[in-house]
Structures are given as structure tokens and as C-alpha cells.
């Protein structure tokens, strides 16, 4: 065993580092303890007969839907108080984006709510486009592709909600089915973007590249199969006595509660209120598609489950319409000062810029080379100001508050992630119920911790 003292010396590179002078406690250094607050008042007297105990559930727990920590005060099997501890997946995405160009920021945004990457990218890109004033110049084909990818993504996200929610309540077949069906969609994503998740496909001004030749055909083939399989999954659970016993009347939250707590998405629509930003404040051309806003009147976990099932069918309906609307054309804005210049292709040495593009910039057009160089190294400037754009993500309203200082990087990006806000409902849904119902309630909110903590 080494007897060397652990000493961290101050780094000249980071003058503000508060841990810079941290040293070994044995040497009289600073010690941090978890304490204070109201911890003393909730310590239970060991002599008391009360069964009231405080249970810390998570963050590493298979049923808490990710690294969510639930702090439950229980009396026997009843939950008297429920609180959430979050932050275990905080990665500083918003801070990091301030140090990268606007286009590079897509790569960060896509990693927030990792089950709904296309929604994160779209919210962020719509904000940039609004600041640039180019919302109307986005090519039709790019908008159709965005809608198609988002709706496919909504299906895959809801499938995970059913799969993990089912698993947490013991319905393991639902999990097998959900993840199997999701794979059909991820294969489509991989074919179009090159990646299953974290796609960084939707870019300011359009999308990263056009659909491959066989994409439309493949999606058309996949939809009937997916419809059939969705029906199988629904048949497993919809009229299933055990499933209903676990979810009907559980996690109750009515419209008043939703409005006060800022809850959106399936949880809000399960109260019978048909709020959907795709209808009320359309973006990306959603006003051109026919679909229904699905609602239920049950206010409970079962209603949210039914809504997700039916929303997947509506999403597939939209995907079919996008396939019919796809017309040949550009997928990136015409403005050469903003449009990312290159298309990608796969060569013998891996993925890279297409040979046509390399030929153009290296031997045909000096302007193309300049634009390529400036856009890739510096990026484009975005006028100073702030905007807020919101879209209907699978879990509710995903907002992006973007502040630009007129430079090539965001001055501040803040994402209003629906999972973050919806998690506030845990106390309202769980207190007074059984401890087993906490799992059902949290699963019905379907929080994704990557989005909660960012």
C-alpha cells in the first residue's frame, strides 16, 4: 500500500477550479459530508412501534426506469411521501453546446432523450432556423423526411415505453415484443442515417443527406408487418386481467393536476384534453397530414398505455402519407452560406464525403472549396436574439430556448424536456398508494433520464 499523500495541485489552465487546492483530509483538507436540510427530522426513533420507514429506491434499480432515485416514506406497504432524486445522468450537454458551432450542437442535442433523438434534433434546428429567419426556405422534401423520421421515432419510443413498462410490471413477453418491433424501425434508421440511435441526421437547413434509393420501398414493406405486430402486442395486454389490475386507477392525475404541474403528452391526453402541438401549433408541415389526436378519459396508467398503443397507429398513418408526399428535390436549404455542403457516401475506406463533392471542391469550384472550409471550420453566424420553439415529442412538449449572441456558437441553449417536467407528478400520483403502484405510475409517465438530466 502506497503511503504517498494524495495532493492535487492547482492547475494554471483552470483558475476557477474550486477543487484545485483539494488535498488529503488527513492533512487537514476540506471534507464534504452529506447532511443538513431536514434529514435529522425524518430519522425514525428506533424505539417507536411505527412501521414508518424511509426507503431509498434506486438510482440503480431495474424498475425505476433508468437512473431515477425515488425516496419513499412508507408505512407498511403504503407510500405516505414520494420524492424524486435526479441528476445521476447529468452530462452538461447545454454547457457543452456553448463551445461548439451551431451545426456541431446537433450531435449533442440528439443524445439528450436518447429514445427520441429526431425530436431533440428537430426542436434545436427549428430554433436555429427561426433565428436565421429561414423557416420558410426549408425544402419541402426535407420537411417531409423530418416528419417521417419523427413519426417512426414516435413509434419506436412508445414501443420502448411499453416494453420497459411491461417489464417493470412483470410482463416480460411485452418487453420481448416491444424491443423486437423497435428493431424493425431502428433498421430503417440505420439504413437512412447510418446509425440506430444518436443519429445527428436533422441539421440546420434540412437533413444530413437524402434517403437511399430503396428506403421508401423498405418502409412500405415494414409498415404492414409492424401493424400486425403492434396488434399482437396490444392483444397481449389490452384486455389482460393482470395488466388491468396493475394499471387501472393507478397513477391518477386529472386535468387540473396536469395543468398545474405542467404535464404534457400522453399523461395530459389521458385526461381527455386533446392537446397536441402538431395540431395546435403545427411545424414542419404537420398541418398537411391527416391524423387524430388520441385521448382517453381515465386519468390513469391504463389510459396512458392505451393512448400510446393508438398513437403508434396514428404515427404509421402519417408515415404512409409522408411516403406519398415525397417528391424528388433538395434536402438542404439552397443558401450556400448555411447549407452543409457535403453528402456522405461509403467508400472502400469507410464513410466520408462523396467522391462527387471531393471532385467539385478539389478541382472544379474555388467557391465550393471556400464555402466548405468556412462552414466546417467556422460555421455560420446566427443573428443575436432569443427564440423558443416547441414540438410534440413522444413524452410531451419538448421546447428549445436558444439565445444567440450573433456568433457561430449558441450563447445559451436550454431544453425544456418533457420527461423532466412530467417527473414532478410522481408525488401527486404515488402518495397514498401501494409501493408496487409506484412502479406502475412511474412507468406510465415514461421518463427518459437522459432527457431529464441532460
Amino acid at each position: 500500500m502506497s503511503t504517498e499523500n494524495i495532493t492535487y495541485t492547482s492547475s494554471a489552465a483552470q483558475p476557477n477550479d474550486p477543487y484545485a487546492n483539494f488535498s488529503d483530509p488527513a492533512e487537514g483538507g476540506r471534507i464534504f459530508n452529506v447532511g443538513g436540510g431536514d434529514w435529522d427530522s425524518i430519522t425514525v426513533d428506533p424505539e417507536s412501534d411505527s412501521e414508518r420507514i424511509v426507503v431509498n429506491m434506486g438510482p440503480q434499480h431495474p424498475s425505476t426506469h433508468g437512473v431515477l432515485r425515488l425516496i419513499l416514506e412508507i408505512e407498511g406497504e403504503s407510500v405516505t411521501e414520494a420524492r424524486c432524486g435526479i441528476g445521476y445522468l447529468h452530462t452538461g450537454i447545454e454547457k457543452n453546446m456553448e463551445f461548439r458551432s451551431f451545426t456541431q450542437g446537433v450531435t449533442y442535442a440528439t443524445r439528450m432523450d436518447y429514445l427520441a433523438p429526431f425530436f431533440n434534433e428537430t426542436a434545436y434546428c427549428l430554433a436555429i432556423e427561426k433565428l436565421l429567419g429561414i423557416t420558410d426556405q426549408i425544402p419541402e422534401r426535407a420537411n417531409v423526411i423530418r416528419v417521417m423520421m419523427m413519426e417512426l421515432n414516435r413509434v419506436s419510443s412508445h414501443l420502448v415505453a411499453l416494453a420497459t413498462g411491461g417489464m417493470e410490471l412483470g410482463a416480460l413477453t411485452a418487453m420481448e415484443f416491444g424491443f423486437r418491433e423497435r428493431e424493425l424501425i431502428l433498421d430503417i434508421f440505420e439504413m437512412i442515417t447510418g446509425l440506430r440511435m444518436n443519429n445527428a441526421y436533422i441539421r440546420p437547413g434540412g437533413v444530413a443527406q437524402d434517403l437511399p434509393d430503396n428506403a421508401v420501398e423498405k418502409i412500405r414493406e415494414m409498415i404492414p408487418l409492424l401493424r400486425k405486430r403492434l396488434k399482437d402486442t396490444a392483444d397481449l395486454l389490452v384486455d389482460n386481467n393482470i395488466w388491468m389490475g396493475r394499471t387501472v386507477g393507478i397513477g391518477y392525475l386529472d386535468l387540473t393536476g396536469c395543468m398545474a404541474l405542467g404535464i404534457t403528452g400522453p399523461v395530459l391526453r389521458a385526461t381527455g384534453y386533446p392537446h397536441d402541438l402538431r395540431k395546435s401549433q403545427p411545424y414542419c408541415g404537420y398541418e398537411n397530414y391527416e391524423f387524430d389526436v388520441v385521448t382517453e378519459n381515465t386519468n390513469d396508467a391504463y389510459g396512458r398505455f392505451l393512448i400510446r398503443i393508438r398513437e403508434m397507429h396514428q404515427s404509421l398513418r402519417i408515415v404512409e402519407q409522408t411516403l406519398d408526399r415525397l417528391q424528388p428535390g433538395p434536402v438542404m436549404i439552397a443558401d450556400k452560406k448555411i447549407a452543409w455542403p457535403a453528402q456522405l457516401s461509403v467508400g472502400s475506406d469507410g464513410q466520408g464525403n462523396s467522391l462527387e463533392h471531393i471532385r467539385e471542391i478539389m478541382s472544379e469550384s474555388m467557391e465550393a472549396l471556400i464555402h466548405h472550409f468556412k462552414l466546417v471550420t467556422e460555421g455560420f453566424r446566427v443573428p443575436a436574439g432569443q427564440v423558443y420553439t416547441a414540438i410534440e415529442a413522444p413524452r410531451g412538449e419538448l421546447g428549445c430556448h436558444l439565445v444567440s449572441s450573433g456568433g457561430t456558437r449558441p450563447f445559451r441553449v436550454h431544453f425544456r424536456d418533457p420527461s423532466f417536467t412530467n417527473l414532478q407528478a410522481v408525488a401527486a400520483m404515488c402518495e397514498g398508494g401501494q409501493i408496487a403502484d409506484v412502479i406502475a405510475a412511474v412507468a406510465s409517465i415514461d421518463p427518459v433520464m437522459g432527457g431529464v438530466d441532460r
Binding site: A13, Q14, N16, D17, P18, Y19, F32, N33, V34, G37, I86, G87, H90, G92, E94, K95, N96, E98, F99, R100, K130, L131, G133, M259, A260, L261, G262, I263, H275, S280, Q281, T377, E378, G379, A384, G385, Q386, V387, Y388, A390, E397, G399, H401, V403, S405, G406, G407, T408, R409, F411, R412, H414, R416, F420, T421, L423, Q424, D453, R454
Partner: protein, 233 residues
């Protein structure tokens, strides 16, 4: 070579982000391009004057009348109105924040019943107005969105808590406190939410470093992202 840039004519209130000098990030070497002499004033959109156009006028009239009915002088409460990028922002003085928010929520003609949260922004160059708390409100009834912005000095980081009006702002205010150090007075439990409880500093502030270590790859060293050479932004 610092020059004081000329303030644009007709602009009364605006917030200067910073003065950009030169086109490229490098300093210290000789400037042979002449671009090093560029000076540009970066500022936020300035205050708007009436008529605002569209439904912005109706909302502003309704807000002023409703505030008057509640014996609040709209001129005192609302510092300025900024309309930019098709969005309206009411800059509200912090003493009046709660009365403005409750008016916005309760008046039938306004009915901004839904808050989509609080977001902080740190403008180090906006002297004595460094910290901004930005509230995004939506009226589902009238299908409008507005923004309410409150500014406070870094030396006096206090803003009243809006949790009593919009309970959803509970976690959002905790997050803004965590990241910017703005103290929301009257919040039921203002503790850190993302960072560990004993974390020193408020990470989203501009004076807080991004962090990171230099990476060595095949003999070359790449500094962390906030210390790399970059274009002026």
C-alpha cells in the same frame, strides 16, 4: 486597440453582449490581413414601440388594463417590451413579477394557464443586470405563447419564486438556482437538482469553466474545448 463603438441612432435600450474585434481568433502574431481592425457591436434586439402588430397589441392592452384593475401601474411593472423573431418578451421588474404572472394566468382575456418552465441566462457584460430568468408561458385557451423576462444583478441574486402561481416551476427554479445561483425567494425547497448537493459553483454561468483535460494523440496535444483556438464569436 480597443475602440468604443458608436451606439446606433434611435436605440434607447439595448444590451451589449460584447464587442467583437477582428475576424479571427488568433492574437499576438502580426496582423497582415487587416481583418484584425474590424470592430462590431453585438447587442440584443432593442425595445419595441407601439403598434406591435398582430395579436401582440391585444395582449399588451389586455395586460395593461388588467394590471390597472389590480391597482398595479403597468409602466412600473413592465420595463420594456421586445418583439423579435415573431415572439413577444415582457421585461418585468422583479418586485412586480408575481402580480404580473398571476394576472397573466387568471385574466380570461389572457389566460396563460400553462408554464413551460424557467430558464436562466447569464450575460456577464450586461452590467448590474447580469442574471436573467426567462419564463415561457403558453395559453392553451387562446393558443399564444409569450415570454416574461426578469433581470437581476449578480451582486443581488434574488427573484421571487413563482411556484405559488405555477407549481410546475418548482423543479425549473431549482435547476436555474443550481446552474446560475439565482435565489428564488419563497421557493418551498430550493436545493440543487442536477449537481451534487456539495458542488461548489454554478456551472452554467459564463465565468465557470467548461473543464476538460488536454488529449494527446500520436504526439500532438489537443487542448480542452474551451481553450482551443477558435474563431471570434
Amino acid at each position: 486597440m480597443s475602440q468604443v463603438p458608436v451606439v446606433p441612432e434611435g436605440v434607447s435600450q439595448f444590451e451589449v453582449f460584447h464587442v467583437r474585434e477582428g475576424a479571427f481568433g488568433g492574437t499576438g502574431s502580426g496582423d497582415t490581413s487587416g481583418f484584425g481592425g474590424l470592430v462590431e457591436l453585438m447587442h440584443m434586439p432593442e425595445a419595441s414601440t407601439r403598434p406591435f402588430g398582430g395579436w401582440f397589441d391585444e395582449i399588451s392592452d389586455e395586460l395593461e388594463l388588467s394590471l390597472a384593475a389590480r391597482e398595479v401601474n403597468a409602466g412600473d411593472a413592465i420595463e420594456k417590451v421586445v418583439i423579435a423573431f415573431d415572439e413577444i418578451t415582457f421585461f418585468v421588474r422583479r418586485e412586480y413579477l408575481l402580480s404580473v404572472l398571476s394576472t397573466l394566468r387568471d385574466e380570461p382575456g389572457l389566460r396563460f394557464e400553462f408554464s413551460t418552465g424557467v430558464s436562466g441566462v447569464h450575460y456577464p457584460s450586461d452590467t448590474n443586470r447580469e442574471l436573467h430568468a426567462v419564463y415561457h408561458l403558453m395559453s392553451m385557451t387562446h393558443n399564444h405563447r409569450i415570454r416574461v423576462e426578469v433581470v437581476t444583478a449578480d451582486s443581488d441574486r434574488h427573484i421571487p419564486s413563482s411556484v405559488s402561481i405555477y407549481p410546475t416551476n418548482d423543479w425549473h427554479e431549482r435547476e436555474t438556482f443550481d446552474f446560475f445561483g439565482i435565489v428564488f425567494d419563497g421557493h418551498p425547497a430550493l436545493t440543487r437538482i442536477q449537481m451534487p448537493d456539495d458542488w461548489p459553483g454554478h456551472p452554467q454561468r459564463k465565468d465557470y469553466p467548461l473543464g476538460g483535460i488536454p488529449i494527446e494523440y500520436k504526439g500532438a496535444t489537443i487542448p480542452p474545448p474551451d481553450q482551443r483556438r477558435a474563431y471570434n464569436s
